[in-house]
């Protein structure tokens, strides 16, 4: 090589080098190991988690939870695998219960305020920079004195308790207090139960199955399921348990895929899973059930029982809008199946003839002869610690309660776990009746409408911070007592040992106040605190046979109770109904009567994701509705054809008028609803209840009148309403694509 290395040589060499590098770089390499550059937190350990078993308090079903906590914070809720009710599963609301625990709108501590005064210091405004909840303005000592005085200074019959359906231990405590001191027995209410028409179900069970209570429908074991309005995959009775049943209906190793038919005037998300959706005319459920019963009896060649003898299928077909062929085809499906099951529920019971519907549908089960058999109808096992099913108040009982309030019979009203101003139809005038109660004390955790209308708010701890137990009313084959224990000691201020929400368990408040009140009150609740009361209630189970666990002494038993999240029996305790003469009775197949003058049937239904108290949890707000995928708002479902005739388009705000009230709501053109029916979900329309709920959507309860059915439940679906288009439009946030799902913007030629 020459010692002169010219620039030209250099360039040549450099060129060759580059080309070589590029070419070799292009050759695919066999061994490519690709790993992320960074170690993300997903790969790291941040310490150990602890898990606590407790019970979900989002609804009264009583699903067992196991909550993952870390450094004193609840991180995630999971189902308790051992709990026979939910077997490790949760619904969306159970998952989002953490958004209740850490909700920024929780009441900060005991507060005395003027009725109607907001529990915010700043108005709820999406553009506001910072919110400030009302600060606590009294100490717990003063609060206890207020409660004690209220108990002591009033006559027992002037003291009333209005309670929600969770949790049961507090109800037991107040019941004990009432029994011992003569104050009014606590009244329990929940909008969920109102929409479930529990009194009707219970009454029908008493009439036909021989025992009041919630019947247990073994969906999982059935082969054909006819559901008359029962939205058991949404909020009905025990949705997690019934969803498991539904999965069993569809997928089972031991039997063929079961068939599911839903009779409902609008396609609920339950009906969306049905193989056949029968959009019958509202009010004809009873006659349709009876007609099917008659056709089935005829197909089987049985003598026609009294229950079906008056019904004329052809007539039913005309009235219900179901073709006779369809009725016959359904009857054949029902008759030919070895495990046919019929379930009454939902809006079908919330009509003037609701009881007849429930009876007619239960009678259908008698035709199928499935009482007490797998895939049939059972009596729900009576929960531990209880001798019979305790039904929450029906609408009739609430009417009486409200009347007593209005009459000034109560001087003090304690409210816990229920938001009657929101949950009860406005036509009941609960808020007005409240004016005749001298003192209203709310134990609300959140600043709901009731807390706003109370004189005092003494916030209860959130379900995940609480002790207690919940009796499983239905859904499990065994008697189950789901236990609650605090999974976190509280929510703290950042970098502080001070509580952010200075809440106190209502049971503790009542016990302490009773001690302060002294006398019979102190004697009625001779406990140091809530936990001692709880032990006194639970340890009696120690001696019961067939328990999931047993212990020699009370302390061990209590420890197991906490550890396992409750106590339950091991064997199936569902009762077989006494079936004699079920069909040998008259069941009215008359159409139900509708109140109001409009031309549209009105179906309010409980939002599957929000239910009655989910609206303040932002993640529940952001869950799309399973049928319409609408988030964060209320809509009215209307058939597209009808809307077209009325000149209504999507997102047009319509005014809906019933005999009881009116409201304005944007429209969703819903392809699966009868043209003569309007449906609105219940769950939004709060006037308080925190920044995520307030002033959002409308509450269909304001349209519902006070008409009852025979069992005393509200005929919430027994109304006709008028629709009027307004000039306003309100854009509904949907997850779905309007283009992709409804071809909007791409009209066919």
């Amino acid at each position: 090589m020459s010692d002169k290395f010219s620039r030209r040589d250099f360039l040549k060499l450099a060129g060759v080098g580059t080309v070589t590098t590029v070419l070799t770089g292009c050759i695919a390499q066999k061994e490519v190991k690709r790993e992320p550059y960074m170690q993300m937190p997903e790969y790291n350990y941040n310490g150990q988690s602890t898990y606590y078993a407790t019970t979900c308090r989002e609804c009264a079903a009583g699903c067992g939870l196991v909550v993952r906590t870390m450094q004193g914070r609840a991180i995630k809720t999971e189902g308790n695998v051992n709990n026979p009710l939910n077997l490790g599963k949760t619904c969306a609301r159970g998952q989002a219960t953490l958004h209740g625990l850490y909700n920024p709108d929780r009441v900060r501590g005991p507060i005395k305020h003027a009725r109607g005064e907001s529990l915010y210091e700043t108005p709820v405004d999406p553009d506001a920079d910072d919110f400030k909840n009302a600060d606590s303005n009294m100490s717990w000592e003063d609060a206890l004195q207020v409660v004690a005085d209220a108990l002591k200074n009033n006559k027992p019959e002037e003291i009333a308790f209005l309670m929600g359906t969770a949790s049961d231990h507090l109800f037991d405590l107040v019941t004990d207090l009432a029994n011992a001191t003569g104050i009014n027995a606590p009244v329990r209410f929940s909008a969920l139960n109102m929409f479930e028409s529990r009194a009707t179900l219970s009454q029908a069970a008493e009439n036909l199955l021989g025992e009041a209570g919630l019947p247990f429908f073994d969906v999982g074991g059935a082969q054909v399921v006819f559901s008359f309005g029962a939205n058991f995959l949404e909020t009905w009775l025990s949705p997690v348990s019934y969803t498991r049943g539904f999965a069993g209906l569809r997928e089972s190793k031991t039997k063929l895929r079961g068939t599911f038919v839903q009779f409902e005037s609008r396609m609920s998300s339950t009906a969306g899973k049905a193989d056949e959706w029968i959009p019958l005319r509202p009010g004809t459920e009873a006659m349709v059930a009876l007609a099917i019963g008659r056709l089935v009896s005829e197909l089987r060649g049985n003598p026609l029982p009294r229950a079906f003898s008056d019904i004329e299928p052809l007539d039913v077909a005309a009235k219900s809008g179901i073709k006779l062929e369809t009725l016959e085809h359904l009857a054949e499906m029902f008759a030919s199946s070895t495990g046919a099951l019929a379930i009454p529920g939902g809006a079908a019971l919330g009509q003037s003839n609701g009881l007849a519907v429930a009876e007619a549908v239960l009678a259908l089960n008698a035709v199928s002869d499935n009482f007490g058999k797998p895939g049939g109808v059972f009596l729900s096992p009576i929960a531990p610690n209880q001798t019979e099913y305790q039904r929450p108040a029906s609408a009739k009982e609430m009417q009486e309660f409200t009347q007593q309030m209005a009459d000034g019979k109560f001087k003090v009203l304690f409210v816990h776990g229920v938001n009657p101003i929101f949950e009860l139809p406005a036509s009941l005038n609960f808020k007005d009746a409240l004016k005749n109660v001298e003192q209203v004390i709310s134990f609300a955790t959140f600043p709901d409408e009731m807390a706003v209308e109370a004189d005092y708010v003494f916030p209860d701890r959130h379900g995940l911070e609480s002790w207690g137990y919940q009796r499983v009313a239905t859904g499990a084959a065994q008697p189950v007592l789901s236990g609650l224990q605090p999974v976190v000691s509280g929510v703290y201020k950042p970098d502080s040992t001070e509580l952010l929400y200075d809440a106190r368990a209502t049971a503790d408040v009542l016990i302490a106040a009773a001690q302060l009140a002294d006398g019979k009150f102190a004697d009625a609740l001779p406990f140091q605190d809530e936990v001692e009361f709880l032990h006194s209630k639970v340890s009696s189970l120690m001696t019961e046979a067939d328990g999931f666990f047993s212990a020699a002494d009370a302390d061990t038993f209590i420890a197991y109770f906490q550890q396992n999240g409750g106590w339950w029996k091991l064997s199936d305790a569902r009762g077989a109904p006494n079936v004699a003469d079920v069909l040998n009775r008259n069941i009215s197949g008359a159409e139900s009567e509708f109140a109001g003058e409009g031309e549209f049937f009105f179906i309010p239904f409980v939002s599957p994701t929000l239910a009655e108290a989910g609206a303040n949890k932002p993640w529940l707000q952001e869950l799309p509705d399973p049928t319409t995928t609408v988030m964060w708002n209320t809509w009215a479902e209307i058939n597209p054809e009808t809307a077209h005739e009325l000149g209504i388009e999507n997102d047009d705000v319509v005014k809906i008028t019933s005999e009881a009230g009116e409201l304005e709501v944007p429209v969703y053109l819903y392809p699966a609803i009868r043209p003569d029916t309007i449906a609105i979900p219940f769950g939004q329309g709060h006037t308080a209840y925190g920044r995520y709920a307030q002033n959002r959507g409308v509450n269909p309860a304001s349209l519902i009148g006070q008409r009852l059915n025979e069992a005393g439940d509200l005929a919430f679906a027994g109304m006709k309403v008028k629709i009027e288009k307004t000039e306003r439009k309100q854009f509904l946030s949907r997850l779905e694509s309007r283009i992709g799902v409804y071809n909007e913007g791409m009209e066919e030629h």
Binding site: L735, E736, S737, I739, V741, G745, M746, E747
Partner: protein, 482 residues
């Protein structure tokens, strides 16, 4: 030349009876020379004569830049892209429309300047610089638009292959990476290519100005004295860049098109996207040059001397050719896709034809394909500056629609119908006004700071022109001297 009576006009050919075709050769810039000193003075005056109107427009643009560009962008960086209109499924929106648009605009400069220079097209001489400036400033806007589009623009350097201790390296498999490299190369190349022919003019300006301008030109002129050696080097360098920048120009827009064509999406995955985008870029670029020439001529002093009907005519012819070429690729793209009959493509085309943005689709066809040839075939119309500028504007609107259709509107349709949603621009509108303002502001500032007419090139042309006989016709041409 032939005629003694009219030294600068084509000789009359009475016997052929084509009197109407007789043309005064002095209409052509190359045959209408002025003394060098006078011409230099004219260019200097065009730079320094500024009316109050200029400052009004300049001031308005400054306000627009401050609000719609600097403030709006800062606000978007602080708040996140939520203030823009991008969402699922249109994850890309107007920012990338602007990017593609500005890159398209930038093509005109290179094309007119480099390709016409390489092919020795004489009518290019007075307006190469105006076009090159568009390239550089357009690319700056394109780059800014890309950065606006980034979710975390403060980490933009992660896209660059900067050696670092953690051995983090960008992904050269990604078309975005190619894009970044191509655009960077193009910016550097075109800036150099703008600067090189500017040097003699800067030196000319240096010698004719005083005060801060003199200092400014002195620095930029790099000590140019105009020696023969300097000229030789300059010519070599310019030739080198003129040839080198052409493939870069083609590759840049091809690579930009690959951002789309490489993706697995109906409507995008098309193999003609490369040339289609290049032609589209030229289409909009030519239009933009027409607009700029019109504005220059209308607003700047002495520009009617330098920019004449012949230039609009030549530009019009180019635009006509490009329109045809563009139309070819347009139909090639859509018809092939339509014929293919893929389910998702069918839906997409249906969406374009019938969806809420179909007006854009039809305007695009009208503005880009139908109207330009109908007007540009006519010499009279071609030579009407305002009309050509209007056509240019129309083409640019049409081309903007085309990019808008390709990015957010086509993104509406994907293989998951449950997610289809139509994009609505939000802060993008302000930022678009912002980029246009920055572009205009830069351009206006440049018109005061550097000679927009490459005066030495014009002089060189005028010195070397003659008439030559091609067949029976005599055409103006350049002597062998060049």
């Amino acid at each position: 030349m032939a005629s003694t009576a009219h030294p600068y006009s084509k000789p009359a050919k009475a016997h052929e009876g084509h009197h109407e075709e007789e043309q005064d050769m002095r209409e052509f810039l190359m045959y209408d020379p002025k003394p060098r000193g006078e011409m230099n003075q004219m260019v200097m005056e065009s730079m320094t004569t500024t009316s109050w109107k200029f400052w009004v427009v300049f001031g308005i643009l400054c306000v627009l830049v401050a609000t719609c560009f600097i403030y709006a962008w800062g606000y978007m960086i602080a708040e996140g892209l939520g203030v823009a209109g991008v969402m699922r499924p249109s994850y890309w929106g107007i920012f990338l429309v602007n990017t593609v648009f500005w890159i398209g605009i930038s093509h005109a400069g290179t094309f007119i300047s480099a390709i016409l220079r390489v092919f020795k097209a004489e009518f290019r001489r007075p307006f190469t610089r105006a076009a090159e400036l568009m390239t550089t400033f357009g690319l700056i806007q394109a780059g800014a638009s890309i950065f606006m589009h980034l979710g975390r623009v403060w980490l933009f350097y992660w896209l660059l292959p900067v050696p670092n201790q953690r051995m983090l390296w960008p992904n050269f498999h990604s078309p975005l990476m190619w894009d970044l490299l191509a655009i960077t190369t193009y910016v550097l190349g075109s800036t150099m290519y703008l600067f090189l022919p500017l040097i003699p003019d800067l030196a000319m300006a240096r010698d004719r100005s005083t005060g801060w301008r003199k200092t400014f030109f002195k620095i930029l002129a790099l000590g140019w004295r105009g020696t023969e050696g300097e000229w030789r080097h300059l010519t070599t360098a310019m030739n080198f860049f003129a040839f080198a920048i052409i493939p870069v120009m083609f590759s840049v827009h091809t690579i930009v098109s690959w951002d789309f064509a490489m993706a697995m999406r109906p409507g995008w995955s098309s193999s003609v996207f490369g040339p289609y985008f290049v032609l589209g870029a030229l289409h909009s670029g030519m239009g933009a040059v027409a607009i700029v020439l019109f504005i220059m001529r209308a607003t700047m002093k002495h520009m009617d001397y330098f920019i004449r009907k012949e230039h609009f005519d030549g530009l019009g012819k180019l635009m006509l050719i490009v329109t045809f070429a563009y139309s070819y690729f347009f139909f090639n793209d859509y018809i092939v896709q339509w014929y293919g009959g893929d389910k998702w493509t069918d839906i997409l085309l249906h969406w374009l034809e019938e969806g809420p943005m179909s007006w854009m689709f039809y305007q695009l066809i009208l503005f880009n394909i139908v109207i330009p040839p109908l007007l540009l075939w006519n010499k009279k119309l071609r030579q009407t500056p305002w009309l050509l500028a209007l056509i240019g504007l129309m083409i640019n609107v049409g081309m903007y629609w085309e990019r808008y259709l390709i990015i957010p509107v086509m993104l509406t349709i994907n293989r998951m119908p449950f997610t289809w949603k139509l994009y609505e621009p939000r802060i993008e509108l302000f930022l678009t006004i912002g980029t246009f303002s920055v572009f205009l502001l830069f351009y206006m500032a440049a018109s005061r700071l550097i000679p927009l007419i490459p005066v030495w090139e014009v002089q060189e042309g005028q010195m070397t022109h003659s008439l030559r006989k091609v067949g029976k016709a005599e055409v103006p041409t350049v002597s062998e001297f060049e």
